[in-house]
């Protein structure tokens, strides 16, 4: 199912480290994400998977190694063994290739669904209002919410809010979408509609990195599953390798815990 690994990777993480003071939360991370690849990051809480995703987006500053987005170093300028923080302008230029969906949706509550989706189209891409609205409606249609365009976030269910957030991230036409536990804040009944939108995106060939606790989604949709524990990548491979192959004891324990929690019938 690996669609086009021959191409250049969109995201390259090389020997990346992240410390909060003395506390090293990510150790020597290496990852490549190729076009159309869906990568799921799984692991116990505190394993560093969300921090890894936030370092890729440079919402957290990694403290060593490199993160390249479409070949460009994000967040820093390296020259002659000196590393300096990149300017806001440069950071924005590299970030342009990424979209992000958050656990808490983070929709702007004073704007309608359509307003949330079109804000960056008007302010960053400089589309005129009419053109932006057309594009915004098309995106809301894609996530099944064109009828809710004029609703405020408070008038939408959690699942609907998260779908608006996905449409907002898609508006800037990113080459990779980052998902930070997109269904963890949802009522169980609403998880399915968000996962369905994500599956559709994957089928359309969107490149995605997904931090998730939904093992079913990882097994069905991912091309690569990465298991993190205590800031390290313990195992990386196809869903089949990770879920059915020989497992390190920590992964065995993690999956056993997950299955015990979800088992309700013999």
């Amino acid at each position: 199912m690996n669609k086009s690994s021959a191409n250049e990777p969109i995201v390259q993480v090389q020997n990346m480290n992240k410390s909060f003071g003395e506390n090293q939360v990510l150790k020597n991370i290496n990852l490549n994400v190729h076009p159309s690849e869906v990568m799921c990051l799984i692991g116990p809480s505190g394993s560093g998977k969300s921090t890894l995703l936030r370092c890729i987006a440079f919402l957290e500053q990694y403290t060593g190694g490199t993160v390249l987005i479409e070949g460009d170093l994000i967040g820093y300028n390296d020259n002659a063994d000196q590393r300096k923080l990149a300017s806001t302008k440069e950071l924005n230029r590299v970030r342009r290739n990424m979209g992000m969906v958050f656990q808490q949706f983070n929709l702007w509550p004073h704007m309608t669904a359509l307003g949330n989706v079109t804000e960056a189209l008007v302010r960053v891409k400089k589309l005129n209002r009419k053109h932006a609205n057309e594009k915004g409606l098309a995106l809301l249609n894609k996530v099944g919410l064109s009828e809710r365009a004029n609703h405020y976030p408070a008038q939408l269910s959690g699942g609907q809010q998260q779908r608006v957030a996905i449409a907002r991230a898609l508006a800037m036409e990113p080459s990779v979408l980052l998902f930070d536990e997109p269904t963890s804040a949802l009522d169980p009944e609403l998880v399915g509609e968000v996962l369905q939108v994500m599956k559709d995106l994957a089928n359309d060939g969107m490149t995605m990195i997904v931090v998730t606790h939904e093992m079913g989604f990882a097994a069905q949709v991912a091309d690569t599953v990465v298991f993190l524990d205590q800031g390290e990548i313990l195992l990386k491979g196809s869903p089949k390798d990770v879920f059915q192959g020989p497992k390190p004891p920590r992964l065995q324990q993690f999956l056993q815990n997950y299955m015990d929690r979800n088992a309700f019938w013999e």
Partner: protein, 219 residues
């Protein structure tokens, strides 16, 4: 009974006092919001000298009574060669003072916004100034309506202090009328009633504003 027969003839003069009070209060709120937003973002800035300046500013203007600030600007500035009209000095004083209080009210609002609001805006490429004025500030204003309305009412009342530098706002006008007619009760009671009506209107406006924003926005 009190004899209010001198009141009708004095109404045009009182009205001019009310207009001055409204002008001073409006200027105080507008200047206060501008200075307050700037000082608040300076106070929350990671740039240390800027942050220190905002801390100093806020401490200074909150620490010295407005009455004393007015006296200094009216009596002391001319001594060191700075001659500005009394009205400009008074407006400046109350506006700068309001800015210090509003900066702290707004800071409370900014700090209660979830950090994700800014992060999601950064991820679609919005600029920092756009995030401040169009993503964060509208939410902060909504969150801080009660505090801002409170401050507005305080400012209307604080504008009475400006009477000491000879500007004929409502209190000064009432004072003059009371003295020239030898009727302190009538004119001070009238002034009190006018202040009360103005401030009641402001709090009703505040309730309306809160209700209106609640219907549309729940953070």
């Amino acid at each position: 009974m009190l004899d209010f027969s001198t009141l009708p003839a004095a109404l045009p003069i009182l009205w001019s006092g009310v207009k001055m009070t409204l002008f001073l209060s409006t200027m105080a709120v507008v200047l206060g919001l501008i200075v307050g937003t700037l000082m608040c973002s300076a106070r929350l800035s990671k740039n240390y000298p800027l942050q220190l300046f905002a801390r100093f500013y806020i401490t200074l203007f909150r620490g010295v009574p407005l009455l004393v600030q007015l006296m200094i600007s009216y009596y002391c500035l001319p001594l060191i060669g700075i001659n500005i009209p009394a009205l400009v000095a008074a407006t400046g004083c109350i506006g700068l003072c309001a800015g210090a209080y509003m900066a702290e009210i707004l800071r409370g609002g900014f700090q209660s916004l979830p950090p994700g609001q800014k992060e999601s805006a950064l991820m679609v490429g919005l600029s920092n100034s756009h995030i401040l004025f169009f993503i964060e500030l509208p939410q902060v204003i909504k969150l801080t309506i009660p505090g801002l309305i409170n401050e507005t009412i305080l400012l209307v009342k604080a504008s009475s202090l400006i009477s000491v530098v000879g500007i004929a706002e409502l209190t000064r006008t009432a004072q003059n009328l009371a003295a020239s007619n030898f009727q302190p009760f009538q004119f001070y009671l009238t002034a009190a009633a006018i202040y009360f009506v103005l401030n009641s209107a402001i709090s009703v406006f505040g309730f309306w504003l809160e209700k209106r924003s609640n219907n549309r926005v729940i953070v």
